[in-house]
Each structure stands twice: as C-alpha cells, then as structure tokens.
C-alpha cells in the first residue's frame, strides 16, 4: 500500500509531465493546423464554383489552391444593412464569431470570383443541422438571381444521411440554375422538399432519411441569402 503523500506526488508529477508534453505538441503543430484550416476553407469556397475553375479543386495541391484563390478572388465585407465595409477582408470574417454578435452589428463575407467569362459572387451562409451547425458557400451568377453552384459543410451530421449535403455531388449539383426570385420578382429562395420537385426553379429533392438536416438547409438558405439581397440590389443599379 502506498502512502497518501506518495499518491499525491505521483498524480501531480504525472499531470505535470502530461500537461507540458501536450502543450509543446499543441503549440508546435499549431502553425500547421492553421495553414491546413485556411487551405481547407479556401478549397471549400472555390468548390462552389468548381465547374468554372480551370483546376480540379478536389485534386489540386495546396499551392495551386492558394495561388488560384489569391489570383482570382476579390474580397468584400458587408454590414448588416448590405453596405460595403471599406478596407475589410472577407478572410478575416469568421461566421462563427459573427453569430455571437447582435444582428445589426454582424458583418458578412463576399468572395467575388473573376471567372473566364463572368463574375461569380460567393457568399457565406450558416445555420443549424440536426446535431450541430451547418454552413455553406453559395455562388451567385452576376444576374443576382441564378445560383451557379453550392458547397456545404457541417460539424457532425450523420454520415450517409445528413452528411450527404456535403458528400453527395448529385445533391449539390441540383442547386445549379435555381432562382432566388419568382416571375413576379418576389424573393422565394430555394427549398428542399420531399417526394418530388413541383417548382423546378425553386425546389431541390431532399436526401432520403435526412429530414431535419434538409429543413436546416432550407431555413439557412432562406435567411442567409436574404441578408445579401440589399448588397446585390445596390450592384444592379
């Protein structure tokens, strides 16, 4: 039997060693983690317009992604009223942090992609899935009505069900060509529906078994896209 004193010292020393080693490993790997995260995010943003890209975004190397991103993306930040914030970069906006601010103080990132033929406006949206947050990038054509492409991501939706919003190419492809406004010029956004699409310009077929995630995406798009409309209106003039 060990004495209490021995037990106490043992635990303190063990905790100390573990803490020191972990702290060093963490700070040693932090730059790599941050770089990985930045590239991952840029790859994700670019993948919303992947059909327009000259490179294959899935297979492209880290350098290619960074180079292409820097060369062809113009970054804009807007405030809650759709006014451009001078001198701000979209990269510095973290949607996760913005969410904690009151509505009127939030800022939103826009990445303007200068394609070979046209400009695309890549905007960030964020909402709730089944288990945790979901978010996405929507690429708008320069008529500010037609969706050119989307990419979604999530914290931890169910693999094979909710996670298909990110993994299924067919689901993301279904958004291409959808319109935000109906024929009367009213904002209707795009909805994800079960059991057959009735309005082909505004509806996308849901993923089987992912009801709550689908509702989350619908809500996220409806609310998220509306925020950017004033900015788009100001560009139309």
């Amino acid at each position: 039997m060990h004495t209490n004193r021995y037990t106490l010292i043992y635990i303190v020393v063990l905790s100390f060693i573990v803490a020191v080693v972990l702290a060093f490993t963490f700070s040693g790997l932090k730059p790599i983690h941050d770089a990985n995260e930045a590239v991952f995010k840029k790859r994700d943003i670019l993948s919303s317009v992947k059909d327009q890209l000259p490179i294959d975004i899935v297979k492209a190397s880290t350098e290619e992604v960074l180079e292409h991103f820097d060369a062809s993306i113009e970054q804009v930040v807007i405030d809650a009223n759709g006014k451009v914030v001078e001198g701000a970069k979209a990269d510095d906006i973290d949607m996760k942090q913005e969410e904690k601010k009151p509505l009127e103080e939030r800022q939103y990132p826009i990445y303007i992609y200068e394609g070979a033929e046209a400009k695309y406006y890549l905007i960030a949206i964020r909402g709730n899935g089944l288990w945790d947050k979901i978010w996405g990038t929507i690429a708008m054509k320069d008529d500010f009505n037609t969706i050119a492409g989307v990419s979604f991501d999530h914290v931890t939706e169910t693999a094979g069900l909710g996670a298909e919003i990110k993994d299924s190419e067919a689901f993301k492809k279904a958004f291409q060509g959808k319109k935000l406004y109906n024929d009367n010029g009213e904002y209707v956004s795009v909805a994800i529906v079960k059991g057959g699409v009735k309005k082909p310009s505004h509806q996308v077929d849901a993923i089987a078994g992912a009801t709550i995630t689908s509702k989350g995406v619908t809500e996220m798009m409806n609310r998220g896209l509306a925020i950017y409309l004033p900015y788009f209106d100001s560009l139309k003039k």
Binding site: T7, Y10, L29
Partner: protein
C-alpha cells in the same frame, strides 16, 4: 480470462515465442474484443458507415491501445492502487490527444470527418479493459503486443462491418463507386442487364445496421470456430 494470471515463475522470454504470437493472433479470432468479449460496440456502430474512416479509426485505436498498454505496464509497479484508474485514464487521454493533434496536422479532411470519434477512443471500453486485465499484471513487451493484437482485432471487425455497410448501403468502397444508378459506377444498374433489379439498401447506412452485420459475423464465427461454442 486465463491470460491475466501473473507469471510468478521466472522464465526465459523470447522476443517472438509461441506466447507472443498468441497475444497477437488470439484477438483476431478466438478472443476478438468485439465479437467474443463484446466490448467497444458503440464506436463500432458510429464509424463504420464508410471504409476510410473505419481504417483510420482502427489504426488510431491500435496505436492508442499498444502505447497505453506499454506505458501502463512500465509504470505498473509504481502506480498507487487507489488511483490506478485515474492514472490509466490520464495516459489514454494523453495518447488520444496526441493522435488527434498529429492527425489534424497530417490529414485535415480526415480529421474533420473523425473529429468527434477520435476523442471517443478515450471512452472505448477495450482500451481500459486491456489495461486492467493485462497491462497491470504483465511485462511491457507482452503488453505492447497485447495492445496491438486487440487493436487489430477491433480494427479488422470495424473494417469488415464498414465494407458491408458501404458496399450495400452506398454501392461504393473507399469512395470508389462499384454499383449504382449513375453512369460513373462500375456496374450501372440502369444499363446493366443482370443488375437492373438492384437498389441501394438505405438501412445499411443507419447505425442500427452495424448491429445486424456484427451479429451475422458472430454467428458465422461461432459456427466455424468450435472453441467458442461453450463460451457464454
């Protein structure tokens, strides 16, 4: 469990004798942590819907099991009995955190996919079970092998279940499309004359399907392995 008995008689220990080989091979079949000891079921449900995450999970868990067994075995004489569980947990949590940090640096997309489950290795009952049952009473080298053996035994089951679930649920393996109703699949059910009736089974994607698959594996294993007939 027979192998937990401490060896009091000093014996000559070869690096790879019969006993050592047994430590590695036993958990793969006769003493498999999932199908025979029925441990670690929860993670077997969670990460087996696709093969790639299952393989990474298997490797990470094997690493954690091998090195936690080794560490605890090295420390076993000094660990105060009253706090041995806490010490074991600290060691496991330490190794899991290292695995997570390294994976995040080495392959960020896979880390994103597995992030929650990597942390759950800490609560995997197999790790703690092997520490208590084996590493606390055995020498480091053998404990290390025991950890590898059990990690692989756990991993081989994960991969088997994942193969079944991904193939029948999504029609692909490691993301490579085998069968389905789109033209980029190896067998396109819309044009192939023999597989026109085939449909993906969505139930296989749900976590519950992992239980069905594990049960079938246990059934087949017991039917073939006479040693298991009388156990439990």
């Amino acid at each position: 469990m027979a192998e937990t008995a401490t060896q009091t008689v000093p014996e000559k220990e070869p690096l790879f004798g019969k006993k050592e080989r047994k430590l590695l091979i036993d958990p793969l079949n006769d003493n498999n942590p999932i199908t025979v000891q029925v441990l670690g079921i929860c993670s077997a449900l969670a990460v087996t819907s696709m093969v790639k995450p299952a393989v990474i999970m298997a490797l990470s868990a094997t690493f954690v099991m091998a090195f936690s067994n080794l560490t605890i075995s090295l420390l076993r004489k000094g660990i105060p009995k009253q706090v041995r569980m806490i010490v074991q947990l600290v060691v496991i949590a330490f190794l899991v955190t290292i695995v997570e940090l390294v994976l995040k640096a080495a392959n960020y997309p896979i880390w994103k996919q597995l992030s929650v489950y990597i942390g759950l290795i800490i609560t995997n009952c197999i790790v703690m079970g092997r520490l208590e049952a084996y590493a606390m009473a055995n020498k480091p080298w053998r404990s290390f092998l025991d950890g590898i053996g059990n990690g692989l035994g756990y991993g081989i089951l994960l991969v088997m279940v994942a193969v079944a679930r991904e193939l029948f649920g999504k029609g692909s393996l490691m993301g490579f499309k085998i069968i389905g109703n789109t033209p980029d699949c190896l067998i396109d059910t819309t044009t192939n004359a023999w597989f026109g009736w085939y449909m993906q089974n969505n139930i296989m994607v749900l976590p519950a399907a992992a239980l069905f698959v594990i049960c079938v594996i246990i059934w087949v294993q017991r039917a073939r392995n006479s040693k298991l007939v009388d156990i439990s």
